[in-house]
């Protein structure tokens, strides 16, 4: 089989996921033999337009991004969202709950109209996507695993487990028992529970599991000393967009 041609693109993001891709070379330099990277602006000047697999980092946060997204969708056989910004809108979507004008003015003052922007969205809200590699940032082992899946001709698959599963596989003392709080019970695993392992509660960067029991978790958070503001803050670091979607769906039903 010919080496698949892959390209990386980024929209509103910190480029940490692409850096993680670069980092993955540290343990897997053979990646360069397995695929042909034709576009990766952050790390290379060569630029090829002929690619089969497009990894897109970043959320769509201004009208001007949509044309480029459509163009990528057209050229690529497979489009894969790379990281929380592309997958969930990421931290960029925090502002979606705030009045947009207010946000722009707060940062740009009377020059706010110079800078085009609108609520930040995951790329799946603009173009159809084939798979996601979640996380903020992505996990480099998961990225390599995803590449092996793609080389095998199948889409990356992430089991629908909550983070607690991986946390307990590691035998961690639950951070709730250490006086902190955690979104592990409602968040999709695959990160090897890295945050609880390093003593911090999960912030939900990989998005929700398929059937999260959010009301029950809210009760747990309240029991652990959080007021409404804190609970909302916790649930909107990465989950703003998904939660707004769930709320909208609830409203419709």
């Amino acid at each position: 089989m010919a080496k698949p041609k892959i390209a990386f693109f980024e929209f509103t993001s910190c480029e940490g996921c692409q850096l993680t891709v670069v980092d993955s070379l540290q343990d897997h330099p053979e990646l360069l033999d397995a695929v042909e990277i034709v576009q990766f602006r952050e790390a290379m000047s060569e630029k090829g337009e002929d690619y089969q697999i497009a990894f897109i980092e970043g959320s769509c946060s201004r009208p001007g991004d949509e044309a480029k997204l459509n163009e990528i969708r057209e050229k690529a056989d497979l489009v894969i969202a790379l990281g929380a910004c592309a997958h969930l809108g990421g931290v960029n979507a925090i502002r979606n709950r705030m009045p947009l004008e207010d946000v722009r003015k707060y940062v740009y003052g009377d020059k706010a109209e110079w800078y085009a922007t609108y609520p930040a969205r995951p790329i799946s809200a603009v173009i159809p996507i084939d798979a996601v590699i979640p996380g903020c940032p992505i996990d480099r082992n998961e990225f390599i695993r995803a590449v092996t899946y793609l080389l095998q001709g199948r889409l990356p698959y992430i089991p629908d487990n909550p983070v607690c599963i991986e946390c307990k596989l590691k035998g961690n003392v639950c951070v709730y028992h250490r006086g902190m709080t955690c979104l592990g019970p409602i968040t999709l695993a695959g990160c090897d529970a890295i945050c609880p392992t390093y003593g911090e509660g999960c912030d939900g960067c990989r998005g929700l599991i398929s059937a999260p029991n959010i009301p029950a978790l809210r009760t747990v958070l309240a029991e652990h000393g959080m007021n409404e503001t804190d609970i909302e803050a916790k649930m909107t670091v990465f989950l703003t967009y998904q939660r707004m979607e769930l709320e909208a769906a609830d409203h419709d039903s």
Binding site: T148, Q152, G153, R154, Y157
Partner: protein, 283 residues
């Protein structure tokens, strides 16, 4: 213990498969292919109809697949009918004769066909359910004299989805088998029955006391067919199913196929209705 199992145990782990060679691949429909496999040193699989093997491709995964060939027909080779639905099955569909897959098994209890002797048999395959049933049907047909009347009611989604069409035609051609086929969605060429499988029961006459019914199909089909069969007066012990559950080991360890205290992989996958009717979650 079968020879293959002995071979497997030589690897010192029940989870290590034996490598089997694909000798033929045939398209049955858009979604299903028939694979003929050969074990090393021409070992015999020595299976019973209704048993399954765990098929694997290294690096992709493993899945339970019923053995569709009848032990009465083939000895050194066996057949699997595989529907393309996901990771492993997609990858299997890419394979060509001469390539290899991993095999463990055969597992499960299979159908107790010796106990069916002397009875009338009613086979009710729905969709892919014909794959496991074909093994039993051919076993029975190859020993035709030992059984009473044989009826096959086969339902598929559309004419294109019908499996084993040539064999169906052969069975239909036989005077000693009554075969009826229905499809949910007919096309222009279809002249046969239309409707879900239960519609075939309307004109069905059988000696309820002396009939064993064997039903294999998707989970949704079971309840409806069961009602028809009980309605016809067939006894609970004479109604047989083959269950599909998620399975990760095939040997009663991984817990996925557990149905109350029963492990589908070991205690089944074939069960009589009498066996399981008291079990919540069974049907």
């Amino acid at each position: 213990m079968t020879t293959l199992l002995k071979e497997t145990l030589q690897h010192s782990s029940i989870y290590v498969p034996t490598i089997a060679r694909i000798t033929a691949v045939r398209d049955l429909t858009e979604l299903e292919k028939l694979f003929t496999l050969e074990l090393p040193h021409h070992y015999s699989l020595s299976h019973r109809p209704g048993q399954f093997v765990e098929v694997s491709l290294m690096g992709v995964g493993e899945a339970p697949i019923s053995i569709t060939s009848s032990p009465s027909r083939t000895n050194s080779v066996f057949e699997l009918c595989i529907r393309r639905v996901g990771n492993l099955t997609n990858a299997l569909h890419q394979l060509q004769p001469g390539q290899f897959v991993g095999i463990r098994g055969p597992f499960g209890r299979g159908f107790p066909f010796e106990r069916f002797r002397g009875k009338d048999l009613l086979f009710v395959p729905g969709g892919l359910g014909l794959a496991p049933l074909r093994s039993l049907i051919n076993e029975v047909l190859d020993d035709r004299g030992k059984y009473g009347r044989i009826t096959i009611l086969y339902g598929a989604r559309s004419p294109q989805d019908l499996l084993f069409r040539e064999e169906l035609a052969e069975w239909q051609a036989r005077a000693d088998v009554d075969v009826q086929v229905t499809v949910d969605r007919p096309d222009d060429t279809w002249g046969g029955n239309i409707g879900v499988i239960t519609t075939l029961f309307k004109n069905l006459h059988l000696h309820a006391r002396n009939t064993v019914a064997v039903v294999v199909g998707p989970p949704v089909m079971y309840r409806f067919v069961l009602m028809e069969l009980l309605g016809k007066g067939i006894s609970e012990g004479n109604i047989w199913f083959s269950f599909e559950r998620r399975m990760k080991c095939g040997v009663g360890k991984c817990g996925h196929c557990q149905l109350q205290h029963i492990y589908t992989c070991q205690d089944g996958p074939s069960f009589s209705y009498a066996d399981i009717k008291h079990l919540e979650e069974a049907l």
